[in-house]
């Protein structure tokens, strides 16, 4: 936890927060929070600042909170990624959130197993805590907006066009010669395929819609690391 993320419900007075539960345990066990310690803090989807420890009790910490700094600039990258197996889904959320992506769209594609769409992990209540932890890690305060499109046809017939509006679409393509570097700090929609890759039909469809292939070199990376390396080039 590099920054304590506060929620409206933590405030017992305008500038005073009472923290219990998971965050209390981590503050006490891992970070050590004696009275007087000043921690980095931020209000979920709001401003950043500091929280000073006022009182440490058996199961709660009382903080004096000052928030007057804007959250970091969002990334210009939007991420449209094929639905992944549940464990990879969580990693994708963590990576994209910690790297500042604020718009994420999971879509269906031929090589996505249908069961992935039934996983409880893709319910907001299940992944909300993962997002909070990603914000705590990165020091950001703003949730990404997460959308789902479980039909490839709908995805390519309207959903993607709307999602990517005003950006250049690019996708990882081992055969391409262009490098994602060229799009550094540009408004880009990054398209990432499923574990087994896009089918030829899918890539031709994406190209038709204006997406450009970029290479990641001639080695094959796990989806989460390919995503992270591509975002590294772009942000």
């Amino acid at each position: 936890m590099n920054r304590l993320i506060l929620e409206e419900k933590d405030f017992i007075l305008p500038e005073r927060c009472l923290i219990t539960g998971r965050r209390f345990r981590q503050l006490v066990d891992v970070i050590k929070c004696p009275v007087g310690k000043i921690c980095k803090a931020g209000l979920l989807n709001g401003k950043r600042g500091t929280a000073e420890v006022i009182e440490v009790n058996d199961d709660s910490i009382l903080f004096d909170v000052k928030l007057n700094e804007e959250p970091p600039e969002p990334s210009k990258v939007r991420l449209a990624i094929a639905m992944q197996r549940p464990q990879t889904f969580s990693k994708v959320l963590h990576i994209a959130t910690t790297m500042g992506v604020k718009e994420i769209l999971f879509f269906h594609s031929f090589k996505v197993e249908k069961s992935y769409w039934q996983s409880p992990r893709i319910q907001f209540e299940k992944y909300r805590d993962d997002l909070i932890e990603a914000l705590e890690q990165s020091g950001d305060t703003v949730f990404p907006e997460i959308k789902f499109c479980s039909k490839f046809k709908e995805f390519t017939e309207g959903v993607l066009q709307e999602f990517s509006s005003g950006t250049q679409m690019i996708f990882g393509d081992p055969g391409a010669s262009g490098d994602a570097h060229e799009f550094n700090n540009q408004p880009v929609t990054l398209l990432v395929g499923p574990e087994g890759g896009f089918t030829d039909y899918e890539t031709s469809k994406l190209r038709e819609l204006g997406a450009q292939g970029v290479t990641l070199g001639n080695r094959i990376l796990r989806t989460e690391y390919a995503l992270c390396a591509l975002l590294g080039k772009l942000v």
Copy 2:
């Protein structure tokens, strides 16, 4: 497994291999290998090519092997990274190996817990299989060379100079303005700190030796993702 990695001991004839154990199970259970199927293959630390399934038995597969392609170009990046907790150590090896880094040096630094140096995971016999799996993933055949330096003093008084010879040293520094992009495809030694970062003394020491700070933006990433994003910029 995107490429079957063969070892000298698998060869029962000059162009014939008998595969058992973990690789057999994965070939049969995950990849499905009927007689006649042609798989990508490569000899550990040697050439790449194909392996055709000749016979599938209860606990082994017989392949006809043709190897005539060079392994992919190694990355120009050398990686000097502070020793990590055992789980992160394995992730670092996986990421660096799949991204083509061939020289990796783990060094001691103030915020590295001493116990990390006692972990059995940093023994070659323990991480050898992780390296094989990374090669199977990426399609490469060549092991990285892995070195250790458990004293920061020794590291900065000779070991790092020798390791980084002929390259520009760079390190992730939240306060820096330079971007790692500038060193794309250049001979670089990438220095990565421990989980809690380098101390001021350590960064000043690294600067003295010619290392240049580069930024990854104003968000804080987990070590493995920071590494992956930086390598994404460099390779």
